[in-house]
């Protein structure tokens, strides 16, 4: 086995030093009845060349050559080559969590820079080093809100990503939380309905732009939550934040989201990173790693994991979360991508999404389709009626090489005829014309 160095001579010498006669003897503490008495029944070992071929064959069974208008939380944005180059640096790729800061200044400084980028995007004071994804950070935020407010009701808008809502509902019983959903009206959420539901609530979670791609009246939703002393929590798309206002600037207590659109390949759903940022009032209640600045014994600036008494390895059953492994490498990818874009690039990225999505709306309505929420402003995604079952419409478009969108009937039965169409900066006018042709 080429990953192992041990030779027969090594083995003999080592067993002698240990004072046992065989490798089997090393396992003598395992009761006989619990020893596995046969060879593992797993597929045979492959050499590297065979492995490459096997995985190429598996990869070839996936269909990735259809023009992608599928979004619904994960988006086909471009990932720069520099991101890959940085992530393949072995010193970063193959390091563990930076428990020993003198060995880990590289990753610690990178996380500090990432935290800064997330705070800048969201208008918040503090960010953790990442959560698992855009769904679990919502559950984390509920836990923060419960303990910060002493309340046990969470309000979530129905126009929030269905998977986010499902994860929050799955975590809720353990947290002792009740989840209340506020329905959308015409694709957006009515702040008055939120105001009503927010009474006695720990938090109000809404998504901006929402799952339908629609721009919510986010400042009003936040105000409605604040009036009830419930924490407004915005679930946001990082690449929208060059053109859309930062949640911290319209009164939100926390901002969370799925980071994939900034720097991560779609990779069939992961690994990606969830981001979680908050006002400084909540810093001691945040889950996960936080990196802080300090100085070394010579007075030079350096970085460490800080406020660790929040965490499970110290506070154990009273910890703010059980998280330990997070998504640092993917968050680093996000930092690299955002650093390449800069403020101007991020703004242009948002504007290109806006412009292409508008072109797509016009092309589809021009081809005779109807928008589901024609009155609403959107960002890079919108819902369109296909005139037939959404999955059927999708199948017909795919036959023409276009993956036209996400059938909304999967989550919203009353929208059975609708597709959610996402348009990133990677799409071209020609591809959008093909979409219109494929759906008409």
């Amino acid at each position: 086995m080429s990953y192992l160095s041990v030779t027969d001579a090594d083995r003999e010498a080592m067993l002698a030093a240990i004072g046992v006669s065989s490798v089997d003897e090393l396992f003598r503490d395992i009761p006989t009845g619990m020893r596995f008495g046969r060879e593992l029944d797993v597929p045979p070992a492959l050499t590297e060349a065979e492995l490459q071929r096997h995985l190429e064959e598996l990869a070839a069974k996936n269909v990735v050559d259809e023009v992608c208008f599928l979004g619904a939380g994960i988006y086909d944005h471009y990932v720069p080559a520099v991101v890959d180059a940085v992530l393949q640096r072995g010193e970063l790729l193959t390091a563990y969590t930076p428990y020993q800061p003198e060995m880990s200044q590289g990753v610690l400084q990178a996380i500090f820079e990432y935290q800064t980028a997330i705070c800048e995007l969201t208008g918040m004071d503090v960010s953790n080093a990442s959560g698992y994804d855009g769904t679990t950070v919502a559950a984390d935020a509920c836990f923060v809100a419960k303990h910060a407010t002493g309340r046990s009701k969470i309000v979530v808008t129905e126009a929030t990503n269905p998977q986010v809502r499902q994860v929050v509902k799955t975590y809720a019983p353990g947290f002792g939380l009740e989840i209340v959903e506020v329905p959308h009206e015409g694709g957006a959420t009515d702040p008055d309905r939120v105001r009503e539901a927010a009474r006695d609530a720990a938090a109000v979670i809404f998504q901006q732009p929402n799952f339908f791609g629609v721009l919510e009246n986010a400042p009003e939703l936040a105000a409605a939550a604040n009036e009830a002393q419930a924490m407004p929590i915005a679930h946001v798309d990082p690449v929208s934040l060059g053109v859309l206002e930062a949640p911290g600037n319209y009164g939100c207590a926390m901002a969370i989201g799925e980071g994939q659109s900034a720097g991560n390949a779609m990779s069939y759903g992961g690994p990606h990173y969830g981001f979680l940022a908050a006002r400084s009032d909540y810093i001691r209640r945040l889950p996960g790693r936080i990196v802080g600045e300090t100085v070394d014994a010579a007075g030079e600036r350096g970085y460490v994991l800080t406020l660790q008494t929040r965490e499970q390895h110290i506070r154990r059953e009273k910890a703010t979360s059980n998280i330990t492994t997070n998504q640092t490498l993917l968050a680093l990818a996000g930092l690299v991508h955002l650093s390449l874009l800069g403020p101007q690039g991020l703004r242009e990225l948002g504007e290109t999404c806006l412009a292409l999505a508008q072109y797509a709306k016009d092309a589809l309505t021009g081809a005779g389709l109807e928008l589901v929420f024609p009155e609403q402003a959107t960002f890079k995604e919108f819902a369109v009626r296909t005139g037939r079952n959404g999955r059927e419409a999708l199948a017909r478009a795919r036959a023409k090489g276009v993956y036209a969108g996400y059938p909304l009937g999967r989550d919203y039965p009353q929208l059975d005829d609708a597709l959610l169409v996402a348009v990133t900066e990677k799409r071209t006018v020609e591809e959008i014309d093909r979409l219109a042709e494929a759906l008409s």
């Binding site: 001691r284 660790q308 008494t309 110290i314 506070r315 009273k318």
Partner: protein
């Protein structure tokens, strides 16, 4: 600058390394030299609110060092009259002066009987000897 080891004999002690200085129906509470030494330099004090009730043998707050967190166990039952804001701002005050400037809360006692259940210095020293 950390204080050197000492245990004043005018205080009453709780086996969880907390002390009380009783004056009439009021008491000032803090942690002993042993407790602050075991924790190391304190970086955070999470106090109760003024007006809150604290109960004998129950936690009324927390102190933290970089790598440890400890519940503050109340030796007495009562109502919180005052929190030492100096320790909130500069938690290391507890390390520097655990029995003076490093006090934690002042309470009005609701039971005078409880003082008899606390340890005099000689008995607290036995607790310390057992832990060593």
């Amino acid at each position: 600058m950390a204080a050197s080891e000492s245990y004043p004999d005018d205080l009453l002690y709780h086996p969880e390394h907390d002390w009380a200085r009783i004056d009439g129906d009021e008491a000032v509470l803090g942690v002993t030299w042993y407790a602050q030494d075991a924790l190391g330099e304190l970086v955070h004090y999470e106090p109760p609110s003024v007006g809150a009730t604290v109960s004998k043998d129950a936690s009324y707050g927390e102190v933290e060092s970089v790598k440890a967190v400890s519940d503050l166990i109340s030796p007495l039952t009562g109502e919180v009259l005052e929190v030492n804001e100096k320790v909130v701002d500069a938690p290391e005050t507890v390390n520097e002066d655990p029995y003076g400037d490093g006090w934690l809360i002042r309470i009005r006692m609701t039971s005078q009987d409880e003082r008899d259940q606390l340890l005099a210095l000689a008995d607290y020293r036995k607790v310390l000897d057992d832990e060593a």
